[in-house]
Each structure stands twice: as structure tokens, then as C-alpha cells.
């Protein structure tokens, strides 16, 4: 399934990635599974995308790791927010 990934904050800097279009395995059903799959890319991905370090949004709504993902979703991965 095709997914648009966006990165903000710490993971964007550390992974040197702001956005990417990926073709993810269809069997990935949730954000937790997507993150686990992305962590397989290597040590720095495993470190930076640890559940304790990131938060996510699906189609611009904050979402828990248990949220379901679908083809053509816009999924953002970021460090905890700190505005104002």
C-alpha cells in the first residue's frame, strides 16, 4: 500500500528525512506495526522511532499507536510537540 510519510522535529533532523512516499506491506494494519517496520531500516531508525520518542498523526489528526492505517494516508511521525 502506498503511504505518504512526513517527519517533524527530532526524527526529521536525525533521520535527515522530511517526507517520503513509500510502498508499505499490505499486512501492516496499525501505526505501531508501521513504526516497527520502519525500525527495521537500521540502528538509527530503531533508535529514533522508538515508541517512547515519537508521536503520530494520520491525515493531520493526532493518533494513538493502535490507530489503523490505510492506503494513501498521510502519516506524520514527530517528537513530542513544544509550541508557544
Amino acid at each position: 500500500m502506498k503511504i505518504e510519510l512526513l517527519y517533524f522535529g527530532r526524527p526529521a533532523e536525525k533521520l535527515r528525512t522530511a517526507c517520503e512516499s513509500i510502498n508499505a506491506p499490505d499486512e501492516l494494519a496499525t501505526l505501531a506495526e508501521l513504526l516497527a517496520w520502519l525500525r527495521l531500516r537500521g540502528e538509527i531508525w530503531a533508535h529514533e522511532l522508538a515508541d517512547s520518542r515519537v508521536r503520530c498523526a494520520i491525515n493531520q489528526e493526532f493518533s494513538d499507536f493502535s490507530a489503523r492505517i490505510h492506503a494513501h494516508d498521510e502519516i506524520a511521525i514527530f517528537s513530542p510537540i513544544s509550541g508557544g
Partner: protein, 152 residues
């Protein structure tokens, strides 16, 4: 537009004048301005960089103002959040509210800045002389937002 995200600075007096213009039913204007502090723990800050999630950040701020308008009778509200590289002393954010009476304007202004801290996708990176780090959500900010949620 009640929400603006921009790199350039804002003029507080001009924003407040714009907010009250043409409505003499407004009896109270309240504003909050967040500034870049020059220290973090013991280390002096050289600059900060603010990043946001274009599209979602505007929507989130608009939703927060909508929620405030549902709780209090507001006659106007404005949020300006700056992004990019800022220096100590620079203005970061403006929250301004207008109402007939001060109680509603004060409460709504505090509500909006408290919710902004936990519900709007912005990120701050602090640069000290030796180190740079991304700030996380403060526990005290999470507690303040929770306090409002409990009062629903």
C-alpha cells in the same frame, strides 16, 4: 483570518487595534505574548528554531479557538505563531481575545495558549553554545490542558 503562522514579527498594538476595530461592544481585550528566553537550565540560549506541520497547525489552532468560542462568548480572537529561527527576546506567539467583559477574555486567552501547548503541532529546537536539542511537551503544560478538559 484569525490564525496566522509566519516567519516575520508581529506588531502587538496593530493586532489589538485590528481585533477591536468596528465593534464598540467589546469591553475587554486580553493578549498573551510568548517570548524566547535566554536561558535553558544553566546554559545560555543562542537561538531557537520553530518548525510546524503546515496544514495541520492552522487547523489545530482554528479548532482551539473554536473550542474557546464554544465555552465563552467571544467577540474576536487572534493567534499568530512564528516559525523559523528566533533569537532571545524575540516574540514567538500572540494570543489575543476580545469580549464584552474581562472575565471571558482572560479565561479564553489562557485556555487558548494552554491548549496550543499540547494540541498544536509545533516543535522547538534550542541551540546553546555546545549543544542543540528538541524540547518536549512539559508535564506542567499537559497538566494545565488537562485542568481545562476536566472543566468541560
Amino acid at each position: 483570518m484569525r490564525v496566522l503562522i509566519q516567519q516575520q514579527d508581529f506588531d502587538l498594538a496593530a493586532e489589538l487595534a485590528g481585533l477591536r476595530a468596528g465593534n464598540t461592544g467589546i469591553g475587554a481585550l486580553v493578549s498573551f505574548v510568548g517570548l524566547v528566553r535566554d536561558f535553558s537550565g544553566d546554559a545560555p540560549i543562542e537561538n531557537i528554531t520553530l518548525e510546524h506541520y503546515p496544514g495541520m497547525s492552522e487547523k489545530a489552532l482554528d479548532n482551539i479557538i473554536g473550542e474557546a468560542s464554544a465555552r465563552w462568548h467571544l467577540l474576536g480572537a487572534r493567534v499568530i505563531h512564528r516559525v523559523g529561527k528566533l533569537l532571545p527576546g524575540d516574540q514567538i506567539v500572540l494570543v489575543a481575545t476580545a469580549a464584552a467583559h474581562r472575565g471571558e477574555a482572560f479565561a479564553a486567552c489562557e485556555f487558548i495558549i494552554d491548549y496550543l501547548k499540547t494540541d498544536a503541532p509545533f516543535w522547538k529546537r534550542e541551540q546553546t553554545r555546545d549543544d542543540a536539542h528538541w524540547l518536549g511537551t512539559r508535564d506542567s503544560d499537559t497538566r494545565r490542558a488537562q485542568h481545562w478538559r476536566n472543566q468541560k
